[in-house]
Symmetry: C2
Subunit: 155 residues, 2 copies
DNA sequence: TACCGATAGTTGTATGTGCAAACAAAAATA
DNA sequence: TATTTTTGTTTGCACATACAACTATCGGTA
């Protein structure tokens, strides 16, 4: 019984499943695993990884708009709005309305925690490099990003 | 101004960003993009991709327990409980208590939609293969899964 | 037999994310 | 100039997921 049939075809090692051959499955599993690390590190100062990334971008590009952030971060505009709200609550950014656009600026406080973010970022990198292997990481990242970009256009 | 300094180092093509070199970022971007496709296809009959996967597993392994599903699907037990609840609402599975364990079985209805799930699964595969390239997909999937597994052990 | 730690599962709560709809402002067209 | 369309942003709602705390059961030990 059980799943002999499918497993016989798909599996080679014991931990593989009928799902491991599916990119939809694997990509989500990877994202969850690595996000756990990211949120653990960035969480030390009360941010999740996407907040940290967004804040970096705002610091680098003062007056950036939500739609620009949306493109850079590969997130929908509504998600950007929510993230900005959170960062605003924490006084890391402020918003300025300019016509139909919204300009986002980092506060002094937001700029001040940049070093901490950079450190956390590095720790995250170290941790997943250690787990996955430094050489593989670089290639994997490139391929993953390329795939994400291709799929972004698909729909 | 802007971000010349960093971009000069990191970017080669215009769409790359300081983030694209980060696996945490890229993996999440990929997961979101591919999940959008998955949910679109599986959503045609009211499921999201994780429901569909779980149902497959339950059909293949009648009487499977939440903790087994948790390992197979790389999801936390609490998430499994929530997914099972959803599938139960839709009358695709039923639960049986056996001591401290819970056994999950597919209903006739649940087994009946298996063909539809298989079709949707195939459509998803076709769509991302078309976007990414058939050859790349296979290798990418393996690497992504391997990385996810390594990271799963890390924490 | 009676207790205690370990294990399995569920629930409360919180959060990131997205879709669809609403809204506001700009641009295009008549 | 007036009207329509398009664009940018925000909100209402829904959902997958996780953590922490809680409950229930099992297994071992005194």
């Amino acid at each position: 019984m059980k799943n002999e049939k499918i497993d016989a075809v798909v599996c080679e090692e014991k931990s593989a499943t009928r799902f491991s051959a599916c990119l939809l499955f694997s990509a989500n599993a990877l994202a969850r695993a690595i996000t756990a690390i990211g949120d653990e590190e960035f969480g030390r100062f009360g941010l999740c990884y996407s907040h940290a990334y967004m804040l970096c971008e705002v610091v680098a590009q003062p007056g950036i708009t939500p739609s620009e952030l949306s493109e850079t971060l590969y997130l929908t505009p509504s998600t950007i709005t929510r993230l900005v709200e959170k960062l605003e609550q924490k006084h890391y950014v402020r918003r300025e309305s300019e016509g139909k656009r919204t300009l986002i600026y980092a506060t002094a406080e937001g700029e001040a925690i940049q070093p901490e973010i950079a450190q956390a970022w590095e720790r995250v990198g170290t941790r997943y490099s250690d787990a996955i292997g430094k050489n593989d990481v670089c290639q994997l990242t490139q391929q993953v990003f390329k795939a994400a970009k291709s799929l972004g256009k698909e729909s």
